[in-house]
Symmetry: C2
Subunit: 213 residues, 2 copies
Amino acid sequence: MKKTVPPQTDTKRLILDSAEYLFAEKGFRGTSMREITAMAGVNLAAVNYHFGSKKKLVEDVIRRRLLPLNSVRKKRLEDVRAAAVEKGKKPEISRVLLAFIEPTLFFKESNPDAEHFITFIGRSMSDPDDTVRDVFIRYMKPLFHLLHDVTCEALPDYPRDLLFWRLHFTLGALFHTMHIYGNIKSEAREMKTLDARTLLDLILSYVTAGMKA
Amino acid sequence: MKKTVPPQTDTKRLILDSAEYLFAEKGFRGTSMREITAMAGVNLAAVNYHFGSKKKLVEDVIRRRLLPLNSVRKKRLEDVRAAAVEKGKKPEISRVLLAFIEPTLFFKESNPDAEHFITFIGRSMSDPDDTVRDVFIRYMKPLFHLLHDVTCEALPDYPRDLLFWRLHFTLGALFHTMHIYGNIKSEAREMKTLDARTLLDLILSYVTAGMKA
DNA sequence: GTCTATACGATGATAGAC
DNA sequence: GTCTATCATCGTATAGAC
């Protein structure tokens, strides 16, 4: 029985916002609950009361943004598939990849309040801390399977296993890019400032060629 | 005046070995100094005595393996460049990428005692903890510049900036692969077991196509 | 020079008063 | 729901034994 209007207290939302910002800035382990609660202006014990633990908190931080983002990516992938079926042709691989990557890179633009989440997502796919990593994998797995399936439909002459690995290379390139793109710090000086649109074109031509190699 | 024979005590080596293993297993922040010293069978204070701090320790853990590995990759890249000059032709991009990637993926095989380091390297390029990340970047930067230069010689018709980003995509794919390849855990069940040689062929064909896109 | 014992401030987490 | 008090554990620092 899901509540139609989630009655989130201000305290809960304040904690989620502060945690998202600080996790993106300093990582999961690098952020203390005292920093989070201080920034949110609530008591230290409020985190454990509302979320149960620091782990559960980060899970909720991730859920809040990732579930809507995954819905968009899922719809885009299914649209590509449906459009191909309608025309009686197989999907174009570049469109499949675009359907997945574009909402990811543009999530920041279309959700201004989620500005820091996209930084967090980039780091967390390869976070050594299994706490964060496992949550991401758990929520990404069904979507990755869909991406794999549609990719196999787009490139039916390629073995499934081959495309499986190549998709992992693609995700690696994407997440690494998001990570360094989110960090306008150490390496930024030698990277020309790029807008998300240019970056999308760059990465799309690269991964499309790789998938079709 | 460098000592010709570094007189490392057993204690120092024991700490380095334990730290390398535990960092690869649980990450930098996930590993406590008490775990490290307990595993090494030495006193807690020995770390601060021999290395100065936990940060300095991880720097030495990285240095011990990365400096030799980078020497090999540097030599391989320069060999490719020299071989091309000798024949009066430009280097082949696939050979450039091979020179960089092969020693990386085969470091485990050629240095059995460094088994866990390769796992550590995979995670740490995108570690949210800047402590570890910054050390890696610092030691990788000169090598990356060489890789960039040789790549530009191999593909002289492509803009330098374009190749710069494509190299980042390539490294992202490589590091992500090393990370999940090192983790025969959560995702392993759905990945066919692969030897390093097969994986090398897979990733090389992918990134070569991407670079030439 | 090496190493041990011990202590300090900060952390994540919890119990119980209000 | 919110608070204070408290706990074990963390990285670090130092005094002193060998």
